[in-house]
Assembly symmetry: C3
Homo-oligomer: 272 residues x 3
């Protein structure tokens, strides 16, 4: 974990939107410190103040980036208060942002060893640091200095009491059923659940002759392999590109048409 | 056509929007394979599943990029089905995406010789390739490998039966009239037609003393050179920066005010 | 001021939005001329034709970028008319865009010496320059050539009659009051005023025992240091990260809830 070296690649995930110049300021600050940094936007359209959505967004994405990428996440309603700025170090990635739970899904990832540093060295902050824009004044400069090779230990001390938000888990009320819920709805209206391909496989393995039925809001849906496998406008499900069960309408908006919302319960039944 | 060399520049045109992390994932995949790739967004806000709009978008844009740029287009409702991933090679540009017609206007460009390769070499795919996100699992890695110098012939075999979508053409019902239609409406509400400056010139040359009248929805509009040439809020037309006839309202939204829609007929008459 | 050297960094601030391919074209043109240019988007979502909003956006942002950055601003309803394309040179930054007032707040910055060049050398334009898209045909190529080291004097002659838009100023009707107004509303609904921290300090210094009261639309608000200092959903104020007085609702949208609009008067009173 502490065998440090960084790439010069920095990603950004924020709730700053695309209209205001805040993201531009962050990029300017990074490039002032490290002109060789490469910056990639993951999104700036996390719903305002939605820490949970930010946690899902970075949790789904970080692993597609090169080793040693530095991921900045700024969804930070508590900015200026006592909530700490942190640097999270895993085997293959760095994360910088507020200690408010945005990295909860990183902490839960079982494949990564973990270190969390409370960033306190004002030396690596913007000189005119204020209490309302730590994305620009603390996180961006810390990330830029990290990509220039500043040692992790220089940023502050390790902590172990970082904040983890509870995320809904999948349950198995009976041997032949799984219960999960919708955790994210994408731009196409696809409703992504927290039920993994592995969960489905475990269920299926109890009776390989059985058939999986997906139930949401009293509606039974059939499990497909890809979207265009169906032609009608009914509700169907598939295992999506992230390995999660997803409800969809072919060339339609499942969430809008079937009034699916985050938190809706989704059941899976193995029928003889 | 086959005198291969690529720049390290890759453009992206998708319907993934700006909220979900899908575009970020694509960029991560590219940079993992080629850290020196430069990535430019053309747009990620193509209307969901609108292949025709994507074809117009890339058709309008590609030529402004440096020679040997690799253009990825992902508007792909048939992902996972038998529709093929393809690499299109022209004299000056490369294109990678689904064989669903998104490259129709490239095929029609008369200034470019053309080769189309069915991408089949799984060697250049993401290892965990799934059936629902070929933008990330096939197109992005193929583009990244191409910018690293992998030979075109390594990706698969040439085909000639690629899909071309029909696009509305301009007709000349009489010697003194042209009939076209609105094909795109931009953010300012300008309504872009498929009638070219050359079409207007041909008409005009039949009687250089004549005057061009543009007619849309029963309204006559005058041809201007630039937007601020008019002061009132009427409907006017000009030849736009892409060389096409366009209907506009100065500092106003022509499509909204005059209820102009894609597919609306636009006529041009030469009057003595 | 004339001690020229440029970075290869170019920023973009436009009203072109994120759907149309216009911004992509601009980037293609820049990279064709200077493949080593780095391009950063400040925003493309300035309200269409809103010169004043563009002036505020670039005025708030430019200083966070590295010295010698070239800032392109394209909000240009008068494109094609006699309004001039200009290059603005200050001690630390370059600006390229239309002479319609978008650089008003740069001109007002007292810390920078200033030169303004009327860009006339068609040599550095796009060959097929048209009258409706100077962002692509004039500003982008001029910026790209500038980052390649073309001398300022090659672009045209210095002028002194460039356009400056009037911006609302802060007044002090009495010794114990300041009057300003809301000039920008950000995506979170925070209402940013034109009243600076220095203005507040000046007032405060007249009676350090006094208390500052912020009044907007008949409502008194208390001055806080950061957003999460309050827990309720009332209207509060703070000095924001740009050094301006700002009205906010914690984790809420002040503009929407309290119907605050650009131009609304905001008063500050020092009470014994």
């Amino acid at each position: 974990m502490l065998n440090q070296n960084t790439s010069t690649l920095i990603t950004l995930t924020t709730d700053f939107g695309y209209k205001d110049p805040f993201v531009g300021m962050i990029k300017g600050v990074i490039l002032k410190i490290n002109p060789n940094a490469g910056i990639v936007d993951i999104t700036h359209d996390v719903s305002p103040h939605n820490i949970r959505e930010a946690a899902l967004t970075i949790g789904m994405s970080y692993n597609f980036f090169p080793p040693k990428t530095v991921h900045i996440v700024v969804v930070d309603p508590g900015v200026g208060s006592s909530r700490r700025p942190i640097l999270v170090i895993t085997d293959h990635h760095y994360f910088i942002g507020p200690d408010n739970g945005v990295f909860s899904l990183i902490y839960k990832s079982q494949s990564e060893t973990l270190g969390v540093v409370h960033i306190t060295s004002e030396h690596y902050f913007m000189p005119q640091k204020g209490p309302t824009f730590h994305g620009r004044d603390i996180f961006a400069p810390a990330a830029a200095w990290l990509t220039r090779g500043v040692e992790i230990t220089k940023f502050g001390d390790y902590i172990t009491d970082h904040v983890t938000l509870p995320f809904p888990t999948v349950s198995t009320p009976t041997k032949t059923t799984i219960e999960g819920e919708v955790v994210y709805i994408d731009r196409f209206g696809n409703a992504i659940t927290n039920i993994k391909a592995e969960d489905l496989n475990t269920l299926y393995n109890t009776n390989p002759e059985g058939k999986l039925k997906i139930v949401s809001k009293g509606k039974h849906t059939e499990l497909k392999n890809y979207y265009s496998e169906v032609a009608d406008k009914g509700l169907y499900s598939l295992v999506n590109s992230a390995g999660y069960l997803e409800l969809f309408v072919y060339r339609g908006n499942a969430a809008a048409v079937f009034d699916i919302k985050i938190g809706d319960i989704v059941g899976v039944m193995l029928t003889g």
